[in-house]
Amino acid sequence: MLEIKDIYKTFNAGTVNEKMALKGLSLTLEDGDFVTVIGGNGAGKSTMLNAIAGVWPVDGGSIVIDGTDVTKLKEYKRAKFLGRVFQDPMTGTAATMEIEENLALAMRRGDRRTLRGGIKEKERQKYKEMLATLGLGLEERMTSKVGLLSGGQRQALTLLMATLKKPKLLLLDEHTAALDPKTAAKVLETTDTIVNRDNLTTLMITHNMKDAIAHGNRLIMMMEGNIILDIRGEEKKKLTVSDLLHKFEEASGEEFASDKAILG
């Protein structure tokens, strides 16, 4: 479904702040893979997701989604293949627009925007049903401005928007990191439900090792712009946090430094 081959990205090239964020990264995802991504700060996790989403062009390598080479495609054109949820709940939705308007925008991802009405009556019924599955009571507030929702509600809505039109690939960039633990657990549960229901190919970054182990069928660990660990199948099912820390030390030759990753 996704084939990343040998991609490179350097930020601030030629300055003292030069940072090589991706160093020949390659990754292949099978159809229906749910991959959790962990790694310390600056490991290149978000950079990898942004490279796939096309936020900026990569310096080298290729990215193929479901047989289409998207390496040169602009961000808005790649969007038709991708569903995205961001770390900051403010990023994924338009705050001054209504809940149903946000959903209608997401429903048209990848389509040409025409001069037809922005939202049709029969869509509303569908949105109402979809919102009801979140269990947040949002189906009664379809014409409320999204800016009035809490962070957790906005992330749940963003998740719904990202999957409303089935994406080839779902990109979750620490989408629960800004939420309180209870809300985070709820959003993660919703994520699992949607991913399993639609059999979505998913990349989920998390800072929480427990979550990384509990979710998905495959786990990758990144360091210094590359993948240093790739665990799947039966091996992943048996994995524990201490295994993971041990493997990290083995792979990197140093101790896992982030308290947040262990405790979070």
């Binding site: 338009a94 009405g117 809490s150 509600q153």
Partner: protein, 310 residues
């Protein structure tokens, strides 16, 4: 201080305010919907009148002249849009560059720094002379009001379409818009074209109204436009929630602005200081939301907690 002189000046102020109200609706599109402060309108506010009057002098039909003026305004928006999106120039600077360039373009359109047109010799839609004692269907206030109603209706329809919604999303949250497959650069250019088209139409009406186009007529236009937007919002925001009514509020903001201006002049302020006065008033109004957030803390209401979280 003769109250009659003030009263007799009010219909003119209202007519002028309505004409500028169309301009303010254009400013609203960029400033409020796209979240861009577009300074090219200072130039566009002359271009529209220049094109319209030169076309009329050339013997063209009044509607063709106004259509051409609007189209010229849209080209101005296209220029600013290309500066901003294709060339990566910050929006404010892009507008300033366009405005500067337009100075030359406007002079070339008119051939000199001003061009007059007499209502006696041409069949104009609006004029100073048609404000008082004019039959209803020729009355300038009625004609401009009709223009505003049609413009609001068209914009209300447009911003409800798929394309219009995507334009609103672009102004609200660009990252989200792109993630939803919206071509944000195209939308910004489109919004700037729409806005400047509106401004040029307003300019064409203003040129007819005052009977001339002048190279300086757009000076400080953005400030008047912003003033109308802000006054309209401040006065009507509690009662006008619907988008169409919000646009109407902006147009009425223009009327209030010109009536207040008329009162200030009547009070005997030194007219040399008028622009300073305008700038200060707009500065204070722009500061109000900032001050509100900074110095006034409201007790939190239940159900209101959502906003602060994340």
């Amino acid at each position: 201080m003769d109250i009659n002189s003030l009263l007799s000046a009010l219909p003119g102020a209202a007519a002028q305010g309505l004409i500028w109200g169309i301009m303010a609706i254009g400013v609203y599109i960029t400033f409020r919907i796209l979240d861009i402060a577009d300074l090219s309108v200072d130039g566009t506010m002359c271009t529209g009148a220049a094109v319209c009057i030169m076309m009329l002098q050339g013997g063209h039909n009044i509607f063709a002249a106004m259509l051409a003026a609007t189209a010229a305004g849209m080209l101005v928006g296209l220029a600013t849009g290309i500066f901003h999106t294709a060339m990566g120039i910050p929006a404010i600077l892009a507008g300033i560059l366009t405005q500067l360039g337009l100075w030359g373009v406007n002079l070339k359109i008119m051939g000199k720094s001003n061009q007059a047109i007499s209502v006696d010799n041409y069949n104009l839609l609006v004029s100073l002379r048609y404000v008082k004692n004019a039959i209803t269907d020729k009355n300038t206030i009625a004609v401009v009001a009709l223009f505003i109603i049609v413009i609001i209706a068209v914009l209300y329809w447009f911003f409800g379409t798929e394309l219009g919604s995507s334009l609103r999303a672009t102004g609200c949250n660009e990252n989200m818009a792109r993630a939803q497959g919206i071509n944000t650069n195209f939308n910004k250019v489109l919004g700037l074209m729409l806005s400047n088209g509106m401004v040029a139409l307003s300019s064409a009406l203003l040129g007819q109204y005052q009977g001339f186009a002048d190279i300086n007529m757009g000076k400080g236009a953005i400030v008047i436009g912003l003033a109308a937007v802000i006054i309209g919002e401040a006065v009507f925001s509690r009662i006008f929630k619907n988008f169409a009514l919000k646009l109407l509020a902006v147009a009425l903001g223009g009327v209030i602005y010109f009536i207040v201006l008329q009162v200030v002049i009547w009070c005997g302020i030194d007219t040399d200081l008028l622009k300073l006065f305008q700038a200060l008033v707009v500065a204070v109004f722009l500061a109000v939301p900032y001050w509100k957030g900074k110095y006034i803390t409201k007790p939190k209401k239940i159900g209101d907690t959502a906003k602060g979280e994340a």
